[in-house]
Amino acid sequence: MVKIYGFESCGWCAKCKAYLQSKGVEYEFHDIELNPEDAEACEKLTGDTAVPVITADDKNYVLGFDKAKIDELLGL
């Protein structure tokens, strides 16, 4: 399952969600503002506190709303 780490008022996270929806990609949204454990997992993955972070395998990820990189990561 594709995961998006983000938070509610993050505009780039919303764009990311909309983009995956438009491509028919199912995803889980993990809110790092509401859930400390998600915040921790996200920071562990990227070593940073910025979102959105998109990952399918909890190893390779894209930080930020970058369509080209997201396409490459998810094979779209």
């Binding site: 505009g11 780039w12 790092i32 915040a39 506190t49 979102v51 930020g64």
Partner: protein, 181 residues
């Protein structure tokens, strides 16, 4: 009324009396979750990592009063956002820091240390002035907080010894902190 008389709430809703920080050097900052480049959070965390064992505490107070009109952010290039989480220093409950609705702590801090202008050599200084003149001209009057990341330095006895505007980077005040530790 001194700094140790204030009680505030953490971002988990727990009441915290600032008297608990007696004997520590404090850096009190109004923060904001932002989109785009937020080097100040990173630099604050670096200060915290460097000096916490010597007695520095950083207290972050998130505030949305300056949201939506951020100067100098190039969101088209920096397509990400940051939340307060991720920094290891204490973050408190979201609240106002300026005007009638300001939290008492910030009314106290701004009364103790007046606004003495921005550091004009900082790249954000001019766009910040322009944005304030255009959107919030009233913010430029008086000693209230002008923008996110205004920093107040408090010594081990609770005296507010310095105020640094958003145009002063956390990294550049390391010397001021060291002199109090």
């Amino acid at each position: 009324m001194g700094i140790y008389d204030f009680t505030v709430k953490t971002n988990r809703g727990v009441e915290k009396n600032l008297g608990d920080y007696k004997g520590k050097v404090l850096l009190i900052v109004n923060t904001a979750s932002k989109c785009g480049f937020t080097p100040q959070f990173k630099e604050l965390q670096e200060l915290y990592d460097k000096y916490k064992d010597k007695g520095l505490e950083i207290l972050g107070f998130p505030c949305n009063q300056f949201a939506g009109q951020e100067p100098g952010t190039n969101e088209e290039v920096q397509s990400f956002c940051r939340v307060n989480y991720g920094v290891k220093f204490q973050i408190f409950e979201k609240g106002d820091v300026r005007g009638e609705t300001a939290q008492p702590l910030f009314k106290y801090l701004t009364a103790q240390k007046k606004f003495e202008g921005f550091d004009e050599s900082h790249p954000i200084a001019n766009p910040l002035m322009d944005a304030l003149k255009k959107n919030f001209p009233e913010y430029l009057e008086g000693d209230g907080i002008k923008w996110n990341f205004t920093k107040f330095l408090v010594d081990r006895e609770g005296n507010v010894v310095a105020r640094f505007e958003p145009t002063t980077t956390p990294a550049s005040i390391a010397g001021d902190i060291e002199s109090l530790l």
